[in-house]
């Protein structure tokens, strides 16, 4: 979270201000009303996905032994789905609910009448999305371990990778949301951005199977880096340099997103 907190509070070097923690408190207060649903969904979704795709579909994939190193399909796909799920939740949370706070319910405007500022709102809600990604990923990890779908204990580090990936999506999407006047743009964003990423970022099959000219596209998407990093940890096949590059790429996208959000939030909320 240190990367995320960097300069968020408007004072250089400050890790998220105390005021932005109040915004996080707000989101936790809302969360408190429905936390049991979160837990149930957070455990059942991974279970269904892993059983259907990892075990069910995996039966056929494994028969061909076509994955690199003869890795079982369940083990291959589990860390990828963990990251993907965090990404999906983060993308959603930084679109519609943020638009609601800006435009539909205008609760941001109520908060701006207190000592809170626009950047506190950005930082606080980003922390909330990070918190939610952490919770979802931990639950996913529980299911992975329960199904025996991880080869290495390093799989626990797939959780911070997933959270960083979530923030690499949340920050730029929040920045984008602050430029929108309704949710029309979100449909395009999900249809042409998020869903293709979900399918083609090496989640279900190695990107080396994509046509050559498409592969560079995968490298520049943050999801690819999140999936690759989490997978290398879960399979115990860590290459330090590659892992560093993946993490750095995610952190860079998150930092750029935050920088953009600082501009668009101010522009939208301080008029």
């Amino acid at each position: 979270m240190a990367v995320v907190g960097l300069r968020l509070a408007g004072r250089p070097g400050a890790i998220a201000s105390r005021r932005s923690l109040r915004v996080l408190e707000h989101d936790l207060l809302v969360f408190r009303r429905g936390w049991t649903n979160y837990i149930v969904a957070g455990l059942s979704q991974p279970f269904l996905y892993l059983v259907a795709i990892g075990i069910g579909l995996g039966l056929y994939v494994n028969r061909n032994g076509s994955l690199p190193g003869g890795v079982p399909y369940l083990d291959y796909i589990a860390p990828a789905l963990l990251v993907t799920q965090a990404m999906m939740a983060a993308a959603f949370e930084s679109a519609w609910p943020i638009m609601g706070k800006i435009e539909w319910d205008k609760t941001y405007h109520a908060a701006l009448n207190t000592p809170l500022g626009a950047l506190d709102l950005l930082a606080g809600d980003l922390m909330w999305i990070g918190f939610r990604a952490t919770l979802l990923s931990v639950l996913f990890l529980v299911v992975i371990v329960a199904l025996g779908a991880a080869a290495s204990p390093l799989v626990v580090f797939a959780v911070p990778v997933a959270v960083l990936t979530a923030l690499a999506f949340a920050a730029p999407i929040m920045a984008f949301t602050a430029t929108q006047n309704g949710d029309g743009g979100f449909n395009a964003l999900f249809r042409f951005g998020i869903t293709p990423l979900f399918l083609f970022s090496g989640t279900f099959f190695p990107i080396e199977k994509l046509p050559l000219f498409v592969q560079p596209l995968a490298w520049v998407t943050p999801l690819y880096h999140g999936v690759a990093a989490a997978r290398s940890l879960a399979l115990g096949q860590v290459e330090p340099i590659a892992l560093t590059v993946h993490i750095a790429a995610l952190a860079a996208v998150a930092a750029l997103g935050i920088a953009a959000g600082r501009v668009t939030f101010r522009r939208r909320l301080v008029v």
């Binding site: 109040r22 109520a110 908060a111 009448n113 000592p115 301080v270």
Partner: protein, 319 residues
């Protein structure tokens, strides 16, 4: 400027205060001061610049030009400090539909850095003050308009503000809800809270405001107490004459004008009636009869702020 000389330092001080959005000027160089303990009103038609002015005072909208201080502080540099001492009732309710009535107040208290315990104590007290204790645990959505408004007022008081900004606090409410709100605002005023409000209800301005300014097209066009404004811009009484259309020849405006001439200092002819601004309505009515006018109905009433308002801002509809 010292903090402990409230008489010398107005709570709000504006000189040449200007707000522009691109090429559109919303507030065009207005001057005003609001003293401690005062109830100060901004009157004006839609689009006159009231809300923009309030948002600048509330430090949520940057000042384009001119000077503004609130509590003697510059909003550009001390926004958070100013907001810590302000209560704001915005035009839209901006309540949190995901939280209960009580939680709406609790978290707002947290935004002001109150402890949870203190926030809870004040929230309960305030729910009592606005008569919403029984709805504490309900969601916000099913509340009536008046209840939501009361909740917003309670929310604005959680930090025990010394200055309360209210932007059209009673728009859209039924008479019962309005009177309840007025009563609560009056009590706050008696406790020494300075009120600063916008409204386009003249009765509200007369009820609540010690002093007000009338805004029109981004400028202040008049300033004073409700009584002063009535004395200055209209007469003590207004005689309203209605004529039958078609039957009576006096329906014709040329005839009418001729016969009412010299009757009063100002006569205004509307599609459905004629307003005669005069110190003595009864006398003017008698004179009209002597001159042979036979109106269908005659009404003598005291002049109100509404007459001032219409005189200053015109009768054409502002959209």
């Amino acid at each position: 400027m010292t903090e402990n000389s409230p008489v010398a330092t107005p709570l709000i001080h504006a000189r040449g205060l200007t707000k522009r959005f691109g090429s559109f000027t919303a507030v065009d160089g207005v001057d005003f001061d609001v003293a401690q303990g005062e109830a100060f009103g901004f009157l004006g038609p839609n689009g006159a610049g009231k809300t923009s002015t309030m948002r600048m005072i509330g430090t949520v909208s940057p000042v384009t030009a001119g000077k503004l201080t609130v509590f003697g502080l510059d909003p550009a540099h001390h926004g958070a400090n100013i907001r810590a001492r302000l209560g704001v009732v915005p035009q839209a309710d901006t309540l949190d539909n995901e939280l209960s009535v009580l939680e709406n107040l609790l978290i707002y208290g947290r935004y002001f850095d109150l402890s949870w315990a203190e926030s809870r104590r004040r929230a309960k007290e305030l729910l009592d003050f606005v008569q919403l204790t029984e709805r504490s645990d309900d969601k916000v959505e099913p509340l009536s308009g008046g209840m939501k408004r009361r909740l917003v007022i309670a929310r604005s008081l959680i930090n025990e503000p010394s200055l309360l900004l209210l932007d059209e606090p009673t728009t859209g409410l039924d008479p019962q809800a309005r009177h309840l709100l007025w009563d609560r605002l009056y009590r706050l005023k008696q406790k020494g809270v300075t009120l600063c409000l916008t409204t386009h209800y003249m009765d509200e301005a007369e009820q609540l405001c010690d002093r007000l300014v009338v805004m029109d097209r981004a400028r202040i066009v008049a300033e004073g107490s409700p009584r002063q404004l009535i004395d200055r811009y209209v007469t003590r009484e207004v005689l309203e004459l209605r004529f039958r259309r078609g039957e009576d020849e006096t329906d014709d405006s040329a005839h009418l004008d001729g016969r009412l001439e010299g009757l009063a200092e100002r006569i205004e002819q509307l599609p459905d009636r004629v307003l005669v601004y005069t110190a003595d309505g009864e006398a003017a009515a008698a004179t009209a009869y002597e001159r042979g006018l036979r109106p269908a109905s005659v009404l003598v009433r005291r002049a109100t702020l509404e007459d001032v308002f219409l005189r200053l801002t015109g009768r054409s509809l502002v959209e």
